[in-house]
């Protein structure tokens, strides 16, 4: 039984496809984290910004970030991360 398990583990390790998927999951997780950080930084910037044009620009960036994050979360779920 233990030998079988070992073989299975070894097999899993060699499975390139799965390894790639794991890499992708890691990348998405770290990207989502990065996007969240960017969002927080922009929100903080928006609070202190007085210039109307700048505020508009920050709000736009925030909206885009939200959609990008939503897309990222969806992607993450699709590959079960």
């Amino acid at each position: 039984m233990t030998t079988e398990k070992l073989i299975e583990k070894f097999h899993r390790l060699l499975n390139l496809e799965k390894r790639k998927q794991k890499e992708k999951r890691d990348k998405i997780r770290s990207l989502l984290k990065k996007l969240k950080q960017q969002q927080k930084a922009l929100e903080a910037k928006l609070e202190n910004e007085k210039n109307t044009d700048e505020r508009k620009q920050i709000k736009r960036r925030l909206k885009v970030l939200q959609v990008q994050r939503k897309k990222g979360i969806k992607l993450c779920k699709s590959i079960k991360c």
Binding site: Q57, R60, K63, V64, V67, K71, G72, L75
Partner: protein, 614 residues
């Protein structure tokens, strides 16, 4: 230093009113001076028109003909001799050469060759007058040239327009020279050649100066020579004094080229400089070796069978000989003359920008070659940003600063025209060509692994060039409508200015935030900004038409130009997705999947157009 800087600004401010005052006073006290000044103005206008005409032929047949006929020194020399013999005016050939040079049709060295040739060609005039008493009077053609020229300018075809400008330019040149001569008539009488015969070295120098003065006054060495030969034939002046006058006439004739170079760019001024150097050196040599020249003239006269007392033909021979010696002396140092003039007269405008990173050493390894291409494209992009900013009448460093862009646009709402064709030639074209050629060479030697990236880079550099071309299309109406009395259309064009300036600034910021490699996601917000500003989809254009704020013609211009502005920004964003993102960027594959597609963009836009809380 500071007081001087202030003084310089002050001087510049008072210079123009002072010139106007002095000229006005001159016109008031002397009608002759008025005619001379008008002559100079018409002449300069002719130069501008001539340049405009030759520009129509750049890149075409004339360029090829000129390049083929002037690519070697002997060819440009022969070209100068032939054209001057036919036109019987070295001044005209030299001003046309200056306009060729200014339009970028020929190189400085070729121009110098033509000028040298023109100096030889002009000596045929003395032979014609002395030998046959012939005189080709080109000024009689001025009026028909102007008429035909102006008719052709009204034609639609670019080539006919070009021919029209050239003809009108020549007509104005002749007319200008004619008025200058007319104006100087009063002064001409004062130069009585027969009155003061002078022997020896003193006579030589005084008559050389007289020759210079007479030619400056009459605007033609040809006319001076006719005068000298007539005076000599009538024995009003001595043979020696006549020789000195001929030397002076040769130096004085450069005044026309110097006048012509006033309206020209640095290349034209360099050529006028070369003309002056050549004629001065020739003149000095002729004065220093006058006795040797006299001996040579006598010997050659005997060979040619010219009678000992036929001084008019001997004068023609002397004129040819000393110009020939001048050409022989100056030809070997043409290269040095070009270098010296380029060093002495530095162009205020930056000449054609050279590639900084594309070298042979980088070609050794594919990685270094790829990096060289990326660096050079960065260089090209910086230049493109400068060009776009200058069309928007904004300084390029504004893009790197925190200055309030809207404030800047509002404070200077009128856009002035820039010569974007020249900017494209100087700042973009050479780099783009070099990058394209370099990519092809790398593609031939590097492995297939780099094929896709090279293709992407090639497309990205095309995007940069397309952005510059789009801004060129935009410029015409940007200038026209920001200067219009209709405030609404002016505001719309200033909105385009602000929008494009924002794109440039955001892209500059994105690039500088992480120079090692930018996330492709960061460009989505820029893309959304330009979509939001689409005047057709956001209903602004309809409102302006409904309210009669702008005419139908303005509306169509605005629609077209909004599309150009969109293309400028879109090309830059597409370029940014390739050039700003490092090829080794780890999360590139994942991030590319998160880039917003058109549907998501539209959803965001719809959301944006709903009334917001702020």
């Amino acid at each position: 230093m500071r007081p001087w800087v202030g003084g310089g600004v002050m001087l510049r401010k008072i210079l123009l009113p002072t010139i106007f005052l002095v000229l006005g006073y001159g016109f008031w006290i002397s009608p002759d001076f008025k005619v001379i000044a008008a002559g100079v103005s018409i002449f300069l206008f002719g130069m501008l028109s001539l340049e405009e005409g030759f520009k129509a032929f750049t890149g075409g047949m004339l360029e090829r003909i000129l390049q083929r006929t002037t690519d070697r020194l002997w060819k440009s020399l022969s070209f100068g001799i032939l054209t001057t013999t036919l036109m019987q005016s070295s001044s005209l050939v030299s001003v046309i050469t200056i306009s060729f040079l200014s339009a970028g049709l020929i190189e400085l060295a070729s121009g110098i060759g033509i000028i040298f040739g023109a100096n030889l060609g002009t000596t045929t005039g003395a032979w014609l007058v002395a030998g046959f008493g012939l005189k080709v009077k080109i000024s009689a053609y001025a009026m028909p040239m102007l008429v035909f020229g102006v008719i052709l300018i009204f034609q639609k075809s670019r080539s006919w327009k070009g021919v029209g400008y050239v003809l009108a330019g020549l007509g104005f040149l002749f007319l200008g020279i004619h008025y200058m001569k007319e104006g100087f008539e009063a002064f001409k009488d004062a130069i009585d050649l027969a009155a003061y015969a002078m022997p020896g070295i003193k006579g030589l120098l005084v008559y050389t100066l007289l020759g210079i003065a007479a030619t400056v006054v009459m605007q033609s060495s040809h006319a001076t020579l006719v005068l000298i030969i007539t005076a000599l034939a009538a024995q009003q002046i001595t043979y020696e004094n006549a020789l000195a006058l001929a030397i002076g006439a040769n130096v004085g004739t450069t005044i026309t080229a110097i006048l012509g170079a006033m309206s020209s760019n640095v290349q034209g001024r360099r050529l006028a400089g070369a003309h002056l150097v050549f004629n001065l050196v020739t003149g000095i040599v002729a004065i220093l070796f006058i006795h040797q020249f006299l001996l040579a003239v006598n010997a050659t006269s005997e060979l040619l069978g010219i009678a000992d007392d036929d001084y008019t033909l001997k004068l023609a021979l002397f004129h040819t000989l000393f110009n020939l010696v001048g050409v022989c002396l100056m030809l070997p140092v043409t290269g040095r003359l070009v270098q010296g003039l380029e060093r002495l007269m530095q162009g205020r405008e930056r000449l054609v920008d050279e590639p900084r990173f594309l070298n042979e050493a980088a070609m050794e390894l594919p990685e270094s070659a790829m990096q060289a291409i990326r660096n050079e494209m960065g260089h090209l992009l910086e230049n493109a940003f400068e060009v776009i900013a200058s069309v928007l009448s904004l300084k390029s460093d504004v893009m790197k600063s925190d200055a309030d862009l809207r404030g800047l646009v509002e404070r200077s709402p009128q856009v002035s025209k820039v010569d974007i064709d020249a900017l494209y030639e100087q700042r973009i074209k050479s780099l783009y060509s070099a990058i394209t050629a370099y990519i092809s060479r790398v593609q031939a030697s590097a492995s297939e692994h780099y094929g896709e990236e090279l293709y992407q880079l090639r497309m990205a550099s095309l995007n940069i060039v397309e952005a510059v071309k789009d801004i060129k299309h935009l410029q015409k109406n940007l200038v026209r409508y920001t200067q219009s009395d209709n405030l609404a259309i002016g505001q719309q064009y200033n909105r385009i200015r602000f929008q494009l300036a924002t794109v440039l600034r955001e892209m500059t910021a994105i690039r500088s935030e992480s120079p090692a490699g930018v996330s492709p996601l960061s460009l989505d917000a820029v893309k959304l900004a330009i979509e939001e500003d689409d005047i057709i989809s956001n209903g602004e254009l309809d409102r302006l038409i409904r309210d009669n704020a702008i005419s139908a013609e303005m509306a169509t211009s605005l629609m077209n130009d909004s599309a150009y502005a969109y293309d400028v920004a879109d090309n830059l964003i597409q370029m940014g997705r390739v050039l700003f993102v490092s090829p080794g960027y780890e999360a590139l594959d994942v991030e590319s999947e998160l880039i917003l597609n058109e549907e998501e963009m539209s959803e965001l836009l719809e959301e944006e157009q709903k009334p917001s809380s702020e």
